[in-house]
Symmetry: C2
Subunit: 437 residues, 2 copies
Amino acid sequence: MNCDILITNGLVKTSEKPNPGHSSFVAIRDGLIILIGTMAELPAQIKAMKTIDAWGCLVMPGLINTHNHSAMTLFRGLADDLPLMIWLQEHIFPAEAKFVSREMVYWCSKLAAAEMIGSGTTTVADGYFFEEEAARAFKESGLRAVAAQGIIDFPAPGVPDPADNIKHAARFIDRWQDDKLVTPGVFCHSAYTCSGQTIKKGKELARRAGCRFFIHVAETRDEAAQSLKQHQVSPVRYLDQLGVLDEGTVCVHCVWLDDDDIEIIRDSGASVASCPKSNMKLAAGIAPVDKLLKADIPVGLGTDGCASNNNLDMFGEISTAAKLHKVNRLDPTLLPAGRVLAMATSGGAAVLGLQETVGELAVGKLADIIIVDLQKPHLTPMYNVDSMLAYAASGSDVKTSIINGRLVMDNYRLQTIDLAEVIARVNSLAHQVRKAT
Amino acid sequence: MNCDILITNGLVKTSEKPNPGHSSFVAIRDGLIILIGTMAELPAQIKAMKTIDAWGCLVMPGLINTHNHSAMTLFRGLADDLPLMIWLQEHIFPAEAKFVSREMVYWCSKLAAAEMIGSGTTTVADGYFFEEEAARAFKESGLRAVAAQGIIDFPAPGVPDPADNIKHAARFIDRWQDDKLVTPGVFCHSAYTCSGQTIKKGKELARRAGCRFFIHVAETRDEAAQSLKQHQVSPVRYLDQLGVLDEGTVCVHCVWLDDDDIEIIRDSGASVASCPKSNMKLAAGIAPVDKLLKADIPVGLGTDGCASNNNLDMFGEISTAAKLHKVNRLDPTLLPAGRVLAMATSGGAAVLGLQETVGELAVGKLADIIIVDLQKPHLTPMYNVDSMLAYAASGSDVKTSIINGRLVMDNYRLQTIDLAEVIARVNSLAHQVRKAT
């Protein structure tokens, strides 16, 4: 029996054994997990191109980031602690208008890919302008992505005439439709930056192509109030009236929902990407994630872009989500560790429509696997794997990462990205930003 | 000119230059910072026993953790996501009764010291049983500490007869009174576990010895309600009536305060240790830190013990505090990055009465210095040092640490702690816990 990569001697976290007790192996061939078992069950005749000794480590599914604007790494820390409208209109929008280019999206998405791979993310859902450059950066980095072309009813980088935005998105989907690593999608920015007509056309395009449709929904109290004023209904009900909520739609943020909105989302089959750290930093509010989960709505976690977070460590989102909803309801039993970890793995896969192939370790699934080094003071002792991952671990504990059967980080070293070059390129772009602001 | 340690080529964050622009040096001799300047100002004749090249790094004051029960690393992840009273009474208290010993406090405090040094903490305020063993662990590790003997009106580890608790604490203070690294203190657990008489005696002891007096105050809604029922006043007002609030008292948690309580604390001169991650995980509530700061009350940040957090990374507390209070008031301008960083450095020093000697980098201050490696994807680019530290960095970015002029971590390697031995010892203790639970 031959395999490409054989991981040995690790604690392997599968759906059957979320708290693994025995030293085990995982065998990978042609991008797939072909065998999992205890070391005692390891076939004597197995031969591997590469063997990774995971002694003292946890082998687990890679994390799934269901919301990012990766190229915004360029604006990390450019403007913080400001009122939302000043932050957006006087800092972020002008910086985007001036500095978003093909080159910027490529290099800054690559920096994001380096950060994400380095902290345990194996799949990202991304949405931005010049998305073809982001897709290229992810593909080269070996990072699985649902890359969605941004659509907005203003002149935007790469699409100077908004009348072309749907056509542009359609071309992007055509180009990436058959890629094994990058799945294309459509991202209409929001109901306050896109007309009802644009939103309907964007969703129609996504339906035709069988791909995911993303939209920011009910992020801030002002947005919800504006929707009531303009459309006489909540943001969620407005989207429902447009007919764009279904199993293929991902509603991002969903902070300001009432019980009717939750029912609408549930009945439509749509899913939610929740970004707790971004919502906290921008003071947007606290999403009713406990209620969404109770309604059996698929909920994933996302980092959001680096202008509003400011890092892409999914372990931070897990830890924050697990604690924020507890304190919000004054109930320490809400969102227990295992539930939140599921949101960042199998739950995230379901949000992105990838549940058949990724999100858990099982024979026949794609090999998206991370190896977490347990030999650290803050991970000692370990009574419960889920608790350790949700409340004590961080992205910097991820030692090795395999995506689609490819070794993308080996013993803390990125294998697919020239990090020094990427940092130098982004610093050079940041120098231009600094000079102009 | 001779010095013990010379740090060169770093960006040095001083109170005058919180956003350092020039490559600079710091010279250390006999535990003190003796010179700071740009590389152009480096004296040609300077000689150093050890030179640390901090190119591409930030040199900043070490972080100050104002609340921990260090030995509770043994109970990290033992019980989570439970209702508070079940967690305390069925898990934590029985585990403490059974497993807290001299040996346990020594080794588990040493594990905590390893974790704290490794993540940038240079001073910890600790309170537990067998505090002399914690103090010994900190001293050997080279970690600065305010170590406070725990006092409680029940039979406790090391103090089987509660009638001895003040006497025991007095002996502890005598033993450590003149130590340069470990400052002794008194920790009365709370007004619901200590009688008014015990609290008054504990404070009297602290006053006589000139040391800090700590007490958990108004952590949960139930505690506040119980105080009203039992004493007809809020927890803060009760302590004020006992006469134990003054400049030497640190009120830990302070979640359930009304405006009168805040006024009482301000007028008394007492300070506050806030533990946002612990308060979130236990669903205790959100402390009115914005109001405390507005009232000019000294506020520090603390991790709390590992049973309720579950790690000791102060960067996590900084990041959480900076975001939690924003979302709590729906105001993104609250607790800006620089303000929160000050809480974890100079502010923490003030809480612990150490503001004359530590908490900032300046000539004449004690050399408690950390070096943060900036050459990482998640710290690129850097427009603003405070924002980067508060919103993007984590404890794992700390590369080197100097405490009291002694190099305790050099290029990610602990210099004073045999980590493999400590992990093995704690794992062996944890094995006993696992067998019994």
